[in-house]
C-alpha cells in the first residue's frame, strides 16, 4: 500500500574525510554535552537543524553504526585494557538520535534501523508509517561516519567517509507530483541511496509530494 507525503525539508552533508561545517557550537551550545557527541551524532544534529526539526518522531538509520567507539572498544580488548565507559555508551546504534533527544528534550519516539544497503529504504518505510500513525511530521535521518584508522583497508563502498541525508515528511491527501527515481549516488554508501533518491527528486521543488510504500 502506498500513501502520499509532503516533503517539508531535505538536507545532505558529505565529506571525503571529515565534515568541517557542522556548526556544533551554535547547535549544541552546552560544551559538556557537545564534548560527548560522536561524529555520527554531530552529523545527525546538524541535519536535523538543517531540516528545522527539534520536536517529534524520529527514524534514524545507519548501516555501520558507531565505528569509532566500536574500534576503541575492540582496541582496548586487544590491548587488554579496561574499556572506556564513554566508548561503551557511545557504541550503540541509537547513540546519534539519543543525543538529539537530549539536546532538544524531545520525548517523542525514536526508532533506529540498521539493515545494510537497505537501511535508508527501510527508514523511509518506517518513517512513513510513523507519520501516518501520528498524523504528524517525522524526521528521517541516515548517516555513516566510518572515518577511523586503517578504514581504507576494508572500505570499498564509499568515497565519503562521513555522510548523511535527512528529510521531514508529513502525510497528505494531495496527489503526488514528484516521481522518485532509483539511481546510484556515486561516492555515497549504498545505505543512503534510497533517501538520496527522494532528495534528488525533490531538489529545488517547493511542495513536493511523493508516494511512499507502507
Amino acid at each position: 500500500m502506498k500513501m502520499n507525503f509532503k516533503v517539508i525539508k531535505t538536507a545532505v552533508v558529505s565529506a571525503e574525510s571529515k565534515c568541517e561545517t557542522l556548526d556544533e557550537k551554535r547547535i549544541v551550545p552546552k560544551m559538556m554535552l557537545r564534548r560527548r557527541l560522536t561524529r555520527a551524532a554531530r552529523i545527525m544534529v546538524y541535519l536535523a537543524d538543517a531540516c528545522e526539526f527539534s520536536e517529534g518522531s524520529v527514524v534514524y538509520g545507519s548501516a555501520y553504526g558507531e565505528m569509532q567507539a566500536t574500534a576503541d572498544i575492540v582496541g582496548a580488548i586487544d590491548a587488554q585494557e579496561p574499556i572506556s565507559p564513554t566508548a561503551f555508551q557511545n557504541s550503540v546504534y541509537n547513540t546519534a538520535p539519543s543525543y538529539f533527544s537530549l539536546l532538544h528534550k524531545n520525548k517523542s519516539e525514536i526508532l533506529t534501523i540498521s539493515s545494510g544497503d537497505e537501511t535508508s529504504r527501510n527508514v523511509l518505510q518506517t518513517g512513513a508509517l510513523q507519520a501516518v500513525t501520528n498524523n504528524a511530521a517525522v524526521l528521517m535521518v541516515c548517516s555513516e561516519a566510518i572515518n577511523i584508522a586503517n578504514i581504507e583497508e576494508v572500505n570499498e563502498c564509499t568515497k565519503y567517509l562521513e555522510s548523511g541525508v535527512a528529510l521531514t515528511v508529513v502525510p497528505t491527501d494531495e496527489e503526488a507530483n514528484t516521481t522518485v527515481t532509483l539511481q546510484e549516488h556515486e561516492g555515497y554508501a549504498p545505505s543512503l541511496w534510497a533517501m538520496l533518491d527522494v532528495v534528488a527528486a525533490c531538489e529545488e521543488k517547493e511542495g513536493a509530494i511523493i508516494a511512499l510504500q507502507l
Binding site: M31, M32, R34, R35, R36, E81, P82, P85, T86
Partner: protein, 84 residues
C-alpha cells in the same frame, strides 16, 4: 612528577573539554559538580585513565572521593602513588 598544568592538559584532552584552557582551571577547582562539571561516567573514565597512564588503582571509593575533590589533590595523589 606531574605538574598541575600537565594534569589540566591531560584532563582537557581526556574529557574533550572543547574551548577550555589550562589557565581557566584553578588548582582548587572541583572535578565534579560546580567545578569542571564532570559526571559519573567521567568518574569511571578518570579511574581507568589513572590506572592506564599512572598505574594508580584506588582501594576504596572514599579514597577516590577525597582525591577527586580538586585538581591539586589529584595532582598530589598522582605524584605520591604513581607506579609508571
Amino acid at each position: 612528577m606531574i605538574t598541575t598544568e600537565q594534569l589540566k592538559k591531560e584532563l582537557i584532552e581526556l574529557f574533550n573539554l572543547e574551548g577550555v584552557s589550562v589557565e581557566e582551571i584553578a588548582d582548587d577547582d572541583h572535578l565534579f559538580g560546580d567545578g569542571l562539571g564532570l559526571d559519573s561516567v567521567d568518574a569511571i573514565e578518570l579511574t581507568i585513565f589513572l590506572d592506564n597512564e599512572h598505574g594508580i588503582v584506588f582501594s576504596n571509593i572514599s579514597e577516590s572521593e577525597a582525591v577527586f575533590s580538586s585538581i591539586k589533590n589529584l595532582q598530589q595523589y598522582i605524584n605520591q602513588h604513581e607506579k609508571h
